[in-house]
Symmetry: C2
Subunit: 200 residues, 2 copies
């Protein structure tokens, strides 16, 4: 698909055809695209946890979801979950290497957590790749109270933080998210030319 | 360009043709693609500061760069800079609305800063759009000690944090980043199927 078309079609899809799994070759292609995301110092501190079997997906929802609601009923139909995780220690190690040799803690250099941003980049590339392959996908977070349960259930080491999960599958006919009714913020409200206050 | 081709060609470009500005229609298309990034609750808390005039770009480098080096000499040639900024307060406001009605602070819900992640999403979409248009671009941070100077120089309100800057322009023949020599992490090292420890 043309890149512009992927950008135009991209939206969060929250309902899936539960009887149509994502072919293994597409799972592979999607995660390989995630590996092509940019990262600070090419640290590539991300990891992806891929869940395809019903038992693994049930476990994911059991440890992360709270109660039952219509969002969950629809999201549980997704035949593929990919959890994108960040690893701050990979960036500390990378930036201590001779070509960087940073000695101060990373937050004295960086106003934001690039280990999380970069794992987010990987997730967005996988989300766009799903669109490109005619699939629907949704990016959502693991709630703080569930993070330890999630780590324990899947054997995730403590230095990895779940930045977000992509549900992926073939779309069911879906209503649009109520959040979309808010409308897109107008260009002139978001974009500032030259100075903050300037009109275009 | 096909989406796959954009993903394959994407890399950080750090040297530009200083005599070839980015046409205004392309600047507009790139920032409009940024507006199409996903955001938690459709909060769209990002803002973009677009710098095209030589005076504005000089000011950016004067307040953010430290000393002189070959990286800076090449990067200064970029005819377009887009600073992507995040705004945590937009998320606090959004999640206090009736359909969400969260009362706890966001960090008790979210293990990562989605206001930063989402501004990063917008930056990645603009970076990919530049590739799609035959341009080169590089994403890099504003160092912590420069953030206040940067805000003051461009009249940026304190609630906005620069998540990163995209330099954009037509590519000069460039050497590849030395970080690339590290090679891409192997798939099996990044991707975990079903459980963390599982081999594929």
């Amino acid at each position: 698909m043309e890149f512009d078309e992927v950008v135009r079609r991209r939206r969060m899809v929250r309902d899936y055809d539960p009887d149509r799994p994502v072919p293994a070759a597409l799972v592979d292609k999607i995660v390989r695209h995630g590996l092509r995301a940019p990262s600070a110092g090419f640290s590539q501190g991300w990891s992806f946890l891929v869940l395809t079997s019903p038992a693994d997906r049930d476990l994911y929802w059991a440890v992360t979801a709270d109660g039952s609601n219509s969002w969950l009923t629809r999201m549980r139909k997704a035949p593929l979950l990919i959890v994108a995780l960040s690893n701050r220690s990979a960036y500390e190690k990378r930036y201590a290497e001779p070509d960087k040799h940073w000695t101060a803690p990373l937050e004295e250099r960086w106003p934001v957590a690039y280990w999380d941003i970069d794992a987010g980049f990987a997730a967005l590339l996988m989300h766009l790749s799903a669109v490109d392959e005619g699939l629907g996908s949704c990016f959502f977070g693991v709630p703080v109270p569930a993070v330890d349960r999630f780590r324990e259930a899947f054997g995730v080491p403590p230095e990895f933080t779940p930045v977000g999960t992509l549900s992926v599958g073939y779309r069911a006919p879906a209503e649009r998210s109520p959040s979309r009714k808010r409308g897109q913020r107008p260009l002139d409200d978001v974009v500032h030319h030259g100075r903050w206050a300037s009109a275009r």
